[in-house]
Subunit: 335 residues, 2 copies
DNA sequence: TTGTACGCGTTATCAC
DNA sequence: GTGATAACGCGTACAA
């Protein structure tokens, strides 16, 4: 493996000059530049980033921590990050925490030991104070999920507003008894639940605790179970709003099993506009987030911190959209 | 940021001794070891891997290149890799190529410049000779997808056999006209197609070119389109075998739209046993791969190469299983 | 058991 | 415009 020394020797210049050529320093004559580049070509020299990293104390690499890989929504977000990273000459790498705090901490270690220049957390299982402390010292950005008032830059949508919008749409289409399948442990889900309550309040509907299910996972199986519970109530709901498309798909499946058709007897609303919401029959109405833009913004915020650790924390909320499909067609379906 | 020198000074020993303690060298008295460790604790020293990497010319980090993040099947495979990596004290990072050869090459560069110790390719868009050449020089392993006879270690299932098994099951359940939705560009899909043909041959059924669709993507939309074409034939098939669950889900959706019920008039078989195969109504029969085991094995093979670049290339085939569901219930459903 | 000194490959500072 | 050379933080051969 040739080093910069080998190049210098073969080109009959000093290593300093080679380094200058490689780093586009203009203080090099065209003649020597060409000679050096020729030698580089000839012997197939590739700079060893390990040396460079040590010298510059930087890696031009950022790590994105996500709970799970099999997440349609995240995939789009990460594409946005990658796109922005290319512009800034940063490498993006991804690791999954599987919601294991210890595993997550082991990845965060990479900040201490200079393995990466910064990290984006798409959700976290760690206490927000711990993260805030870390963020004082290292570039850190939260994406899609974060605690209220946390002193870390963050980007996502206005989840309270999104929940409100979805439920309002259901109300406007004439639904009377709207249930929600949420998740207390996720900030985004808690916010959406608040929006749900605000929409009910505004419409003068009572809030029924039995219509709010708060302990379910983001799986279709959980959706089926929750739906079963809801429909077994003395007065079952005529609309169900779930915090994920997969849950909503499970709800639809359960309804079908019960001989009910989603969108007819019971409306169903999901979240994230993933493939599954289109794939299932009937297709599912959902809230669409600007995935790519969220990713781009997250990376941008991180680059800002890498550039200047003292730069102020910022929270950026991006606009969401409702996508109405068969399971909750909106106004036209008024009854 | 404290360095090893700071520790040495505070503990009143040499940097060599500190280094020994940190690297579990036994030639250190218990007394000094304890003193050093105490200082490490006290001043919060964390070894800078940049220095260590340069010195040892190694990073203890491997990169997994996958085509896309939003892939249920891959998610399981990667869990297997992570699990094995933890045992071997290796960090796993993931990047997506989005089937862009240039992007893929840019990631492979990381091998040249020592950013990672080795790489696992879960599929690749590059010519296999290029990969084989690279593999001579750096630890490289193919996972799930590889070219026949390539001189690189690889792990996956016997796709020909899997295709054969699926089609044989359809035949045994009484299906007469079996179509297949495949993809010429993927090695695994080509192999599965061969298995399909062998099963037909063995059963004395003719091979009808119009029943083999070879140009589709792995999306539910492609499945719908392909299904539409197949069912528009003068003599439509009574079974459809798709190389992915998502395609199969699209097929089911299209059949439902046409008023046909998957598993009744037309059987449907998918591949990979992903969530979507369970989620859709009716649920889809599929081929299940040992995801975790595949991932573990891939990482094991890579570690072997990292340990000794001269170690011989190996190809490991793991066993698959059929999962029979409503869309193709198997023998019991004989007509 | 411990310390000294060198080198890993690069960039940056200073002289010329 | 170019060259010596000192860092960056660490591991290790060698000496003591």
């Amino acid at each position: 493996m040739p080093t910069i020394k080998d190049v210098a020797r073969a080109a009959q210049v000093s290593v300093a000059t080679v380094s200058r050529v490689l780093n586009q320093d203009k203080n090099v004559s065209t003649q020597t530049r060409e000679k050096v580049l020729a030698v580089v070509q000839e012997i197939g020299y590739v700079p060893n980033v390990l040396g460079r990293n040590l010298r510059k104390n930087t890696t031009d690499r950022v790590l994105v921590l996500i709970p799970s890989l099999s997440n349609q929504f995240l995939s789009g977000v990460i594409r946005g990050m990658e796109s922005e990273a290319r512009k800034l000459h940063l490498q993006v790498m991804i690791s999954a925490t599987h919601n294991d705090p210890e595993l997550e901490r082991s990845y965060l270690e990479l900040l201490h030991n200079h393995s990466v220049d910064g990290m984006i957390l798409v959700g976290s299982t760690l206490p927000s104070e711990e993260l805030a402390t870390l963020s004082q010292q290292y570039p850190l950005v939260m994406c899609s999920e974060w605690e209220e008032g946390i002193r870390i830059s963050a980007v996502g949508i206005d989840n309270e507003r999104a929940g409100y919008d979805a439920v309002k749409t259901l109300l406007q289409s004439g639904r009377e008894r709207i249930a929600m399948i949420s998740n207390q442990e996720m900030y985004s889900a808690r916010q959406r639940t608040q929006g749900y309550r605000r929409a009910l309040l505004e419409a003068g509907k009572p809030f029924c605790p039995e219509y709010l299910i708060e302990r379910y996972e983001y799986t279709y199986r959980a959706g089926m179970l929750a739906c079963g519970k809801l429909m077994a109530l003395p007065e079952p709901p005529d609309a169900i709003f779930a915090v994920s498309d997969e849950i909503a798909a499970g709800v639809c499946k359960k309804l079908l099993q019960m001989g009910l058709y989603p969108g007819k007897e019971v409306a169903v609303f999901g979240f994230d506009n993933t493939t599954v919401s289109k794939i299932v029959t009937p297709s599912v109405s959902t809230v669409s987030q600007p995935k790519k833009k969220i990713g781009e913004t997250a990376l941008h915020l991180l680059a800002e911190k890498i550039e200047n650790q003292k730069s102020p924390e910022r929270t950026i909320l991006l606009a969401h959209e409702l996508v109405l499909r068969e399971s909750a067609p909106g106004k036209e379906k008024q009854r």
